[in-house]
Symmetry: D2
């Protein structure tokens, strides 16, 4: 049994606590938060769990093998480093850190100490995203584009822009679904509240191939949209996370090209690009709660000394793009090469 | 009665011919096309109309007061200039020309000769877009963003990119609905067919105010989407052109700001940004066919020597943005100032 | 070439005229209507076609092999009988007659004279309904239910109830898709306009098997709905005619039964009925215009002396149910056996 | 503080327990269930609450002022009667009893002992249904129809038909929203599992006015639908309970009648029935959890000796219709007068 402590019992912490308390191979040892009321809530629901407002106490507790960190982003680096230095495995909320520099050091620390460092890219562990990866690997053909819209009204953050809050989901999904890595990013956006970070943003990611990815995030939309279009040379996918059951729809649609066609005048085009349209298909999805699957995997990795799917490297890749996108955003879409971003970081 | 000739009887021409033949103040004199089969189709449906494959004949015909041009974009400039030089009023398909230079000269020619030059920005004349303008002028408050998605499968053009084919609609709507003019544009996109122009593109338009506009166009999408979100400080709008009747939905939603709040730590944010959510409302729309309304207005402008809503200046503003966007697209999103674009043009 | 005359150029007549004028094996000879303006409209659009307001003239015309009847329902019987007595094949709008008695005599007349009598059950010839029949025959398993909703605002008829106007579509589809024939009908409904027939109605059809069919029709609904659910023991179908492309969705869902289970108390139920849920699938549909396909078949039947899919027998079966449903409606749902209906008719 | 015990901790009981434990004026005293595991679950979550498998103990407990009953339907009568005889107020799940006879005796007992008897018609206490009642009372005009569809896959019951399981919701909503009471019912349906009750059913309710109500319930549908259409002479409503926020849409649509029109032939109809179509409007709804509101009201009624909105009389009216509908169902739609039902009961 792996003993786990949870640090931070705010918005997401209760989900971690519930899943850990029900996990087969794990044991919820303690919960740490600075807020006394929150700790009381933990105690009334989980009487056997130790509560504390002192992180040092968690670090010293020999029953604790691993620490799950669900605190504000700017604290991730410090808490995770302290945890690892105390020999604890780490499960950290996304984004894993505020800067590429911090994320890199966390990855190095985990590597050096042979600890498991998992980043909570929850969506990657859903049935829908896992099915998308399967489709991308087998069926879609060459990747043409990945287009995601993630908009709703609220919840404005005052320390990070909408990119760090919402686009992080799309970037982590993209990182998992597509094996190719982006080489450059251009981002535009706007803040509509004086002194606050951008609440609307658009990211374009370029790749060495013809793949293009685009992410639209917005905290100020009248309707909630969670929709991704993926275009491949053989098939296309619509992923609508708000659909209760048919979240993934696969369309046997596309264009056909006839490069050998002799062509004169207007006829050229008609001979070269044809359209095909076949069946649509919504595969049945595994409906296991993503966080449960993810935590089970985290425990398994600790036991078997293996690497989780969404490990520190994945978290670092996402932070690197977030950072580059933020720089582009500040310069109205100036292209930022991700190599360049790497060098600077 | 204003005598009108139609040049070009391909995709859109038949709509012009039908509407002109039914218009109250106009008289359909002749139809000109290079294709004999198309001319035969006109004759069988409209036996009284003159058909010809010789544009010069149209120019010489004294019964013709105005010429409607529905030919490929690259021919607009030449045909329109000839028409105006022959003293004919002009109704030209969008985009009005291939370059800002051409469009400028067309506007100058019309001004010098005191001719009516109308550009067929059809959507501007729909009940939905007219209602949006009304809402923007009265009710939405300060404009925050304009976000449009116009995607579907096909029809690939081989001479112009998807921007000139699809984004032109959004730019003409935006030009009408919002009184402020954009000052810079950043565009990204990709071509997925070797040797062909971009089939997917994303445009961001910047304004002097905090307004930001974004347009997503795609010829290679598995589903058809025609959806625009408009965010204002008081209300927000969803315009879905595929809805059979409730195309415009107005949401009484938004954020409330409390700039005077004393704030420390985490509390800052919560005190500054609040959310409000009220009724949603779908106003009844005028369902008159847009092209009918537009042609009636064209005839009226000729009779009264007045300017149509979508005149050459509107057409020119749209072409200027298309041109700048194309330049940005070629440089992976490099910002193009529209003043700069103007100087170069 | 089969010469065809169209009688009645009101709501549906123009569609017949257009399709016949474009049909490969047919030749549009003449159009007959009592209204002079309508005839003028025909002439301007089809200058070569004979127009007349005298049905006798059509009957005498030796160029006319077949007559398509698109007049009000109460005239179908008389016109069709006259046409057949004059040796003409008949294509008649649905419902084919006002009573079972009339419909029976029409069928007898066609049989005796070896003429083709086709009833325009248009929906039967759509790609969607043809696909449904294919699925029912191969894949759905035992039929459990057929549930259809066909509601919208208007157009109120003053001579027939909403059953004769709207349910006729569902009954003709059901007649084609399901091979079993209903044995009894119960109908309820209401008129909300004094002195007018029912504008809302609900029909339940019983069969000898466990199949049950239900049809909801309404002229006074705020939204338009055209949706049919079909439940089978293996698969289930949703047919939504307002969907632009995915009109048919096949669900691999259902219940599993374990009749041998030993069961005590609450456990009984859980052991006997299980649920399964698999993929959803929207097959590509043939998008040929139904009326074109139907008229091509009519012409082919004349040439080859064969029977159309929607022949007089199909039309008669539908009228018999409409008549029985009307009697049940008048008695607040009293069950009407269709054998009984047959005897009375 | 009103002391409350909950009997039955199966599907719905946990919701009662949670809401009572959080209610302002109430105190959760004890939970009773025959299943030891369920009681253990209660204890671990609510350590201070008494648990017992002996209902007699609950009846004897002087701390218990009221008992909430969430056991199978066939036990409601016995448990509620025992509770009232012990002087306890009662909050009972719907349907309140298995027969009209039982429900009547429960109402009498509550009246005689001046105890509060509330029936858990949860939907009546939602923001959506409360808004519908408001609209029906003020704005819709004369009521024309109430049409509800409540279908999904599962959960088959083996002791009661789908009417008692699903239609009970619609009947309780209808009872609240419409002040007029139905006078007769016709029901049809079918069982598709040998030896099990009907899993699909259709109810038509008749009123003295021109109002007609229809309810479609089905345990074997491939998709989940929760949609009610209400037609009034002035406005019409669509209530879609699956919509996340705009559950109620009000349409300013309808027909206009001109009873004084002189009319001959076909013109009659056109002069008498016109159509009007105006704005659509989705009012903001109170999103308070219905059960919380309902339990707060129950507590208030006990304190103030007043009657809850969904009292025993409402519960009895619903059971009376369920019973009559079941009788009609067994006779393929034979009309059952509700007076007759009353006499027999």
């Amino acid at each position: 049994m792996i003993g786990i402590a949870v640090v931070g019992y705010g918005y997401w912490g209760p989900n971690l606590v519930r899943n850990i308390s029900e996990a087969a191979g794990a044991h919820l040892v303690s919960v740490c938060d600075l807020n006394v009321d929150r700790l009381a809530a933990v105690k009334s629901r989980y009487p056997a769990v130790t509560i504390t407002d002192d992180f040092e106490e968690v670090l010293r507790d020999p029953r604790v093998d691993a620490i799950a960190i669900a605190t504000p982003v700017f604290t991730h680096f410090k808490l995770a480093m302290q945890a690892m230095m105390a020999g604890k495995h780490v499960f950290v909320e996304k984004p894993m850190a505020s800067t590429t520099e911090e994320a890199s050091r966390m990855v190095e620390e985990a590597t050096r100490r042979r600890l498991v460092l998992a980043v909570d890219h929850t969506f990657v562990h859903t049935g829908a995203v896992r099915k998308m990866r399967e489709l991308v690997e087998n069926g879609l053909g060459d990747m043409y584009y990945y287009d995601s819209v993630r908009v709703n009204l609220g919840l404005f953050q005052h320390d990070v822009s909408v990119i760090w809050d919402l686009a992080v989901h799309d970037l982590s999904i993209l990182d998992h679904v597509v094996q190719e890595r982006p080489v450059a990013v251009s981002a535009t956006g706007m803040s509509h509240v004086l002194g606050e970070p951008e609440n609307i943003a658009y990211l374009t990611l370029f790749f060495e191939s013809k793949l293009i990815a685009h992410i639209h995030v917005n905290w100020l939309a009248p309707v909630k949209v969670r929709r991704t279009l993926i275009g491949g040379s053989n098939k296309m996918v619509v992923y609508d996370d708000l659909e209760p059951s048919e979240k993934i729809k696969v369309y046997d649609k596309g264009i056909t090209l006839n490069p050998n066609s002799q062509a004169y005048g207007e006829k050229v085009h008609q001979m070269m690009v044809g359209y095909r349209s076949g069946d649509m298909w919504a595969p049945k999805l595994d409906m296991t709660e993503a966080l449960k699957r993810e935590l089970d995997q985290f425990v398994e990795c600790i036991e078997q000394n293996s690497r989780p799917i969404t490990d520190g490297h994945a978290g670092l890749r996402v932070v690197r793009i977030l950072e580059a996108a933020s720089r582009s955003l500040a310069q109205r879409g100036r292209i930022i090469e991700l190599e360049e971003a790497r060098r600077i970081a």
